[in-house]
């Protein structure tokens, strides 16, 4: 790999795609750095798959340009783009052996039979499935088939690896393994990878950069911690993890702290003041995991912390942690996820919620 990595190895410039009256991708600019694993994250219909398919050449943009390595590829047909594509349902050729599947792309790249064999064997070893070359795809499990699909895509040494929800057809347990495997493989090979998913855990755990999309528009792009902890808007905060939103009004600003008032008269201190000034209307975002639940005697009273009182109206036990729904006196219900310390709190318990001002974020309207 070159020392200087191209920060815009793949570049979408003012790209737009309309299907009839529906705008799937709206005037989007996006740069994908060389060697990075970038996820396009969003609910179905947000345009993430369309964006990927335009890069692959399987859809034609309505307007705008796409560049790979600074070369405009709009008019390059699919088969000359040198991209490796992984599909949700593997798309292994059912009538070809595993060897022929993996060797498929090599056929069109002028390799000799010997060289093809060497490369296919190496690719199968890379995905830890040596010795299946003679089998048919239907003889392999879903996870194995997806690994073969991966081998088939990387054996051609593509400029960019494109993955369209590659894990969503797999079982929960397998998905985790496969996710780590793709992550490792991507790091070893250093191939620029674009990964489309609607699963926030996949996106957060493996990406160098997450691009959150909604309605064909990029909502936020950044590394996983940034989009999770510093969500740019309500949608991103809501889509990633479990967030509580409370309407608030900024009252005062002192030593970097904001004091905001909530409906019902209580007030909350918020740490990073951001661009807000007294009088602004805003929304407080608090992650369900960042609040601590307890009886009065369980929680140490610290002056800088925020406290709420409430009653547990519902809970669901999830093994290591418990998901509580706590109703405040105002009727607002907060979602709190806590690890079980001794025994979980029960429905009807009157509890306190403690939350650090640092974990209360403000979003503008």
């Amino acid at each position: 790999m070159a020392q200087d990595k191209n920060p815009a190895f793949v570049r979408f410039k003012n790209i737009e795609k309309r299907f009839g009256k529906v705008t799937a991708v709206a005037q989007m600019d996006l740069d994908i750095p060389e060697g990075a694993l970038v996820t396009l994250l969003g609910p179905s219909g947000c345009g993430k798959t369309t964006l990927l398919r335009m890069l692959a050449g399987l859809e034609t943009p309505t307007s705008g340009d796409i560049y790979i390595k600074d070369k405009r590829i709009n008019d390059t047909p699919v088969h000359r783009r040198n991209l490796g594509m992984i599909f949700q349902n593997y798309a292994l050729f059912p009538h070809k052996t595993i060897f022929d599947n993996v060797a498929f792309g090599l056929k069109y790249r002028g390799f000799s039979r010997d060289e093809m064999t060497t490369r296919v064997e190496k690719a199968l070893e890379t995905v830890r499935l040596p010795g299946v070359a003679d089998r048919m795809p239907s003889q392999l499990s879903g996870g194995q088939q997806q690994r073969i699909a991966l081998a088939r895509a990387i054996v051609i040494e593509p400029d960019v690896l494109l993955m369209d929800e590659p894990l969503s057809a797999l079982d929960e347990n397998l998905r985790e393994d496969m996710r780590r495997e793709i992550d490792n493989l991507q790091q070893v090979l250093g191939v620029t990878t674009i990964f489309v998913t609607h699963d926030q855990r996949e996106a957060l755990s493996m990406s160098d950069k997450v691009v959150v999309m909604k309605d064909g528009i990029v909502q936020q792009e950044g590394d996983p911690e940034e989009v999770y902890n510093n969500s740019a808007n309500h949608f991103v905060a809501d889509f990633l993890g479990h967030s509580n939103f409370i309407d608030a009004r900024v009252e005062a600003k002192e030593n970097g702290y904001l004091t905001v008032s909530l409906a019902g008269g209580s007030s909350v201190r918020v740490n990073p003041a951001g661009p807000f000034a007294p009088g602004d209307r805003a929304e407080i975002v608090i992650r369900a995991q960042k609040m601590t639940l307890g009886f009065r005697e369980d929680l140490s009273r610290e002056p800088e912390m925020n406290y709420f009182t409430g009653k547990i109206v519902d809970r669901s036990y999830m093994g290591g942690e418990v998901s509580y729904f706590v109703e405040l006196p105002t009727g607002k219900v907060l979602h709190v996820i806590n690890f079980v310390k001794r025994s979980p709190y029960r429905r009807g318990d009157e509890v306190f919620i403690q939350v650090d001002p640092y974990h209360c974020r403000l979003l503008g309207d």
Binding site: H79, R81, L83, G84, A91, F93, H95, F104, S138, A149
Partner: protein
């Protein structure tokens, strides 16, 4: 309490009767083909191949048989040659007037053959062309095309677009993609379509009666003509041959295509 006849038994009996009802005439034809008597009826007096021998010396029947084979084969070839690309277009691409065109090609299935027969005759009359083998062939292609289209389309819907997309992303151009991926996956349906076309062409009577010229009689039309004069035991023999052919060809084809498709999902 013991019930002697359960509902299931009744259903089985009923089913048996339906089968007997359907197949008795066919079985009778095949058996009577081996009856040495001039006026074929039961009981039979021995078994003889003489009608088959006589049949094999009947030059008009042999000609008709040859015509039927040639016509059936050509119909199968042309129908698939038109039907497969048409099915690809209808399933894989979007264009204006697609639904209309599709309905138009399927329509011959819904139009009575008599109407089709007369219509095509009137059409070539209007073109001031004589009846010919080409007309017969065109007619049969029109008749069989819907079947090829429907079978190939149904299979094509089942072949996920991702297979083709995967092939193209790996570097295969559209033609190579068709040859390497779409065609092999589609082959059983193409084969089945060809067979359907052949069989339908091979035993069509109604429309063929209108289109066939004197030199290009097909076997069913010939049989129809012979029946007008007399019921010769030769017809039984010919019927037996036809039955064996039309049953065994699809069976053999089914077996072959299953072997062919082995290993594919």
């Amino acid at each position: 309490m013991k019930r002697f006849i359960s509902g299931w038994t009744l259903i089985k009996l009923y089913t048996l009767f339906v089968y007997i009802w359907m197949f008795t005439p066919i079985v009778a034809v095949v058996i009577l083909a081996f009856n040495p008597q001039q006026f074929g009826s039961f009981p039979m007096e021995g078994v003889s191949f003489k009608w088959f021998v006589k049949l094999s010396h009947n030059s008009t029947i042999l000609d008709a048989f040859k015509n039927s084979m040639v016509l059936g084969s050509l119909t199968a070839v042309f129908s698939t040659a038109i039907g497969v690309p048409a099915a690809m277009a209808f399933i894989r691409y979007d264009f204006k007037g697609k639904d209309f065109l599709n309905t138009l090609l399927i329509a011959p299935i819904m139009i009575p053959e008599v109407v089709l027969g007369v219509a095509l005759l009137l059409f070539i009359r209007w073109l001031q062309q004589p009846k010919s083998f080409a007309l017969l062939l065109i007619g049969h292609v029109v008749l069989t095309l819907p079947y090829v289209l429907l079978i190939v389309q149904a299979r094509l819907v089942g072949i996920k677009r991702e297979y083709e997309e995967a092939a193209m992303s790996l570097g295969a151009n559209p033609l190579q993609t068709f040859r390497e991926v779409t065609f092999p996956l589609l082959a059983p349906a193409i084969f089945a379509g060809m067979l359907f076309a052949f069989t339908i062409s091979f035993d069509d009577v109604t429309a063929t009666l209108f289109w066939a010229t004197a030199q290009h009689q097909t076997v069913p039309v010939k049989i129809f003509g012979m029946l007008r004069n007399s019921i010769s035991p030769e017809i039984n023999a010919l019927g037996a041959v036809m039955i064996v052919l039309t049953v065994s060809i699809p069976l053999a084809a089914g077996y072959l295509s299953r072997r062919f498709a082995r290993g594919s999902a």
